[in-house]
Amino acid sequence: MAYVALFITYIFINNFILTQFLGLCPFIGVSKNSESAIGMGMAVTFVMGIASIITWLVYNLLLIPLNLPYLQTLSFILVIASLVQFVEMIIQKNSPALYQALGIFLPLITTNCAVLGIAVMNISEGYNLMESFVAGVAAGIGFTLVLVLMSNIRERMDLHPVRKAFKGVPIAFISGGLMALAFMAFDKSLLTNLLG
């Protein structure tokens, strides 16, 4: 039950883009069409899940025993960047089909703040290994959800007359702000209503 609560929390209540305002770069950059939004979302979910595990291990098995917790951010960036590169190589070698779908997005998220964000958050919230993994995957799914919603909004917006000054990114920011307002409706009461 705790995992389900964690799952819902990171998808809706603590949504990475609309509540925490992390990962805004891909939110605007890769949301022009839904196809690439889905690809990017899957890549982020994948990397967030793995990065959650690895950074948890690095923190608890390396930094804590050596009494160096202040190296957290630095070592996490190092580990995540290498990890993503490594995963990219393996995918390219073993699964060309998956590489076609995710590969081009992987280099974009090597040092994405959303990925670093979930790693830091797992530590500060004091999650165990399994909780970290669930939080990572859920945060990725929440990211994907918002990215796909945004891409659909932008696809429809392309067909409508928008004032020249608002065309493109400005109107996307305004839509994003309105979406964030809507997501404010999700708070702790969502959990109590759903799970009792």
């Binding site: 160096l68 190296l71 490594f86």
Partner: protein, 265 residues
Amino acid sequence: MNILFAFLIIAALGLLLGMGLAVAAKKFAVKKDEKAEEILAILPGANCGACGYPGCSGYADALSSGKAQNGLCSPGGAKTTSLVAKILGVAAEATEERMVAFVHCRGNHELTKRDYQYEGIEECSAAHMLFQGESSCKYGCLHLGSCMRVCPTQAIHRDDKGNVTVDPEACIGCRKCTLVCPTKVIRMIPARGSHAIACNSHDKGAVVRKICEVGCIACKICEKKFPDSGCTVTDFLSEIDYSKPMTQIAEAAEACPTKCIVEAR
């Protein structure tokens, strides 16, 4: 002392990860197709999609694996085809003829009557939804320039009277304008063609005469008096058959009462 320790740990971690990546890069190296890379360097890089593949890299992959036919790249033309053929080690096949877009209309607000005055969005598709445009002629150019905005090489221009023309030198034949045009007044003609019919109207001659000063009235002068002009009138519109010799086309253009046979270049 403490800071030195932290420094060493991070350095060691970095070294370890770096070496791990170096080993992985060797171990998981994927052999890239050299031919495809070479071909990609030759292709124009316009990513226009005229070849039917997703961008130039898609076409380069398909070419190197033998799935695609050489010579589909219209922006590159014959030069690219022969260079690609050299890499692929096959003789260059006779390429398809270079086609350029042509706006088959010279009507504008002064020469063509209007049913109403359109003041909506500057987009041809929007104007076309409203009684197929403001002009009384429902076949002609809508003058709102949707084609200009999709043209990857800015080859389409509009003068102050609203007449839209394609620069045949700059046109790469990607056909994007023909797809976006709601009246299909932009069609492809061979680049070698000296003349073209600047009208797209299938209205009867009397109707065209009433609403437009430069439309084809299907008088058949070009077809009957100049049989070697290549012009034939079908469904109240003269059309040029570019596979014919077209020796008399200049005289036909001169004789056309509404002057709607125009020079294409």
